[in-house]
Amino acid sequence: MIRVENLVRKFGGITAVDGINFDVEDRTIFGFLGPNGAGKTTTINILCTLLAPTSGKAFINGHDCHTESSEVRKDIGIVFQDNSLDKDLTARENLVFHAHLYGVEKAQRMARVEDALKFVDLYGRADDLVKTFSGGMKRRLEVARGLIHRPKVLFLDEPTLGLDPQSRANLWEFITDLPRRHEVTIFMTTHYMEESEVCGMIAIIDKGRIIASGSPQQLKNTVGGDVVYLKTSDNRKAMEEIRGLFHVEPAEKDGEIFITAQKGDDFVPEVIRRLSERVLAVRMQKPTLNDVFLKLTGKEIRDETVAAGDDIKQMVRAYRRRSDRG
């Protein structure tokens, strides 16, 4: 549904996107992950026809995002990182405006607006001005708006940014359901690694390049497996035994033995059964996508100073302002 080939976008001397490639299949959720300033929003803007690529190509539903922008625009819905609702209009008016803008037939217009309002649970507030809405409500309304014209691809740029944990959880529940209910492909960006567990496929981008891609499980497997922690009646003897039995190298820390195992679920009962020392406690930690990013870049995704990302954003903004005038 989405195809990106050797995409490059430069802003003056800065290369925001540096030769990326990926494919997204129909009716899946694709997660585009990376720290702030990694090139996620630039990529989205190219796919949404708002920005021309410096080189390379991007296609949506077979149409070139640069040369066939009007075809592409009919096929996509977008929820931007910054709110793009008209806050002086009501929820319903925002949706009706969108339906008109996308040429939704009169016969279907009102029915679709009603459906969308019910779908995002805002039917009771349909005639209230958007400026009275909470952050979570606005975001849900934007998702509803993005679906009014029945797009083939829905873009969600940092959909949970600035939401409280409960609204975030609600929104995810609802997003996960979209491909099935609306026959739509989802392309989302986030810098919250744990949120991308819902994705079928993930690409991790850092400094304009894709450094890894695959399903969440595949990516987590690259970390090397689960970490199993054991407390036994005699840790030293137990470690000797484990070395002999499983051909792995255990280590000890804070009175616990820890072992990296390919399949922790199978390893735990096995080790309890075969160890002659009594096992007093067991816990297992699954690797998170954060661990994946940590392994690939040697730094935490959230540690990535926000300031650095903002700097790039600002430079890009300044550049665009200059080039707009020229």
Binding site: L50, S70, K74, I78, L85, L89, L101, Y102, R325
Partner: protein, 255 residues
């Protein structure tokens, strides 16, 4: 290419916002009335009545022009607000041409400004002016053309600015000089030649001049219209066309 649905919905949105903002409505009507009665009333005592017209009557077409100038520019400058608060993105990713957006915005400015000018025009009996039915229709037609031209000019202006901090710059360095160099407060023919030069470049001058033709067609002296009605209409029409094309051009640029 212009999509009718896009133009319609952009105008409808501006209209909804307009009627909802009571304070903007009140101030939009109050400003010209303050100028008309306080400035015009005061100056009437200073400026001796030579022909048939008092000073307050003389500035009436200029005050109508002012109403249109402020509201049409304000309407178009709201594009900067839309950019700042994100709504412009919703419009820019829609499957409509940039030109439809520009025409929609210019038509919004045109209709809203003309509604306000019509309210001011209704005050003519209070000024002792005698304006007939066909003159009123003529005035409204002139207001529509003028407002479209000014709104389109405002869109070109708005394309140069990214944030609303530039609003006061536009007001002080573009809108106010345009008002004073339009023949609204004093006849163009009495201006020093350098100011006349600028007045002749100002599209507002021709709109106000056309209104003078329609509101006091019989006036002959210094306070009479400066150009022919045909010249006024053609200059405005050309200005409207040029600015809307420039606005479309300005919108089509991609980063």
């Amino acid at each position: 290419m212009i999509e009718a649905n896009a133009v319609y919905v952009i105008v409808a949105r501006e209209y909804k916002r307009f009627v909802r903002e009571r304070t903007r409505l009140v101030s939009a009507i109050a400003r010209p009335l303050v100028w008309l009665f306080l400035v015009g009333g005061g100056m009437s005592r200073l400026v001796p009545v030579k022909g048939g017209l008092s000073y307050m009557q003389f500035i009436f077409p200029g005050i109508l022009g002012m109403t249109i100038l402020f509201s049409a520019i304000f309407s178009s400058i709201s594009i900067i607000w839309d950019k700042e608060f994100g709504f412009m993105k919703e419009i820019l990713v829609a499957p409509i041409s940039r030109f439809s957006v520009v025409v929609g915005k210019a038509m919004s400015g045109m209709l809203l400004s003309t509604i306000q000018a019509a309210v001011i025009l209704a005050f003519f009996p209070l000024l002792g002016l005698d304006v007939g039915f066909f003159q009123i229709i003529g005035c409204l037609a002139v207001c529509l053309v003028l407002a479209f031209a000014i709104a389109a000019f405002g869109i070109v202006l708005a394309s140069f600015y990214e944030s609303y901090e530039s609003f006061s710059v536009i007001m002080n360095f573009i809108v106010m000089p345009m008002f004073f160099l339009s023949g609204a407060m004093y006849p163009v023919k009495l201006m020093p030649s350098i100011l006349q030069f600028f007045a002749r470049l100002n599209p507002l001058t021709y709109g106000i001049d056309a209104l003078k033709h329609l509101i006091f067609p019989l006036e002959k002296g210094a306070m009479s219209a400066d150009f022919t009605l045909a010249a006024d209409i053609s200059v405005m029409a050309v200005a409207a066309l040029v600015f809307v094309l420039l606005g479309g051009k300005a919108f089509e640029r991609k980063g």
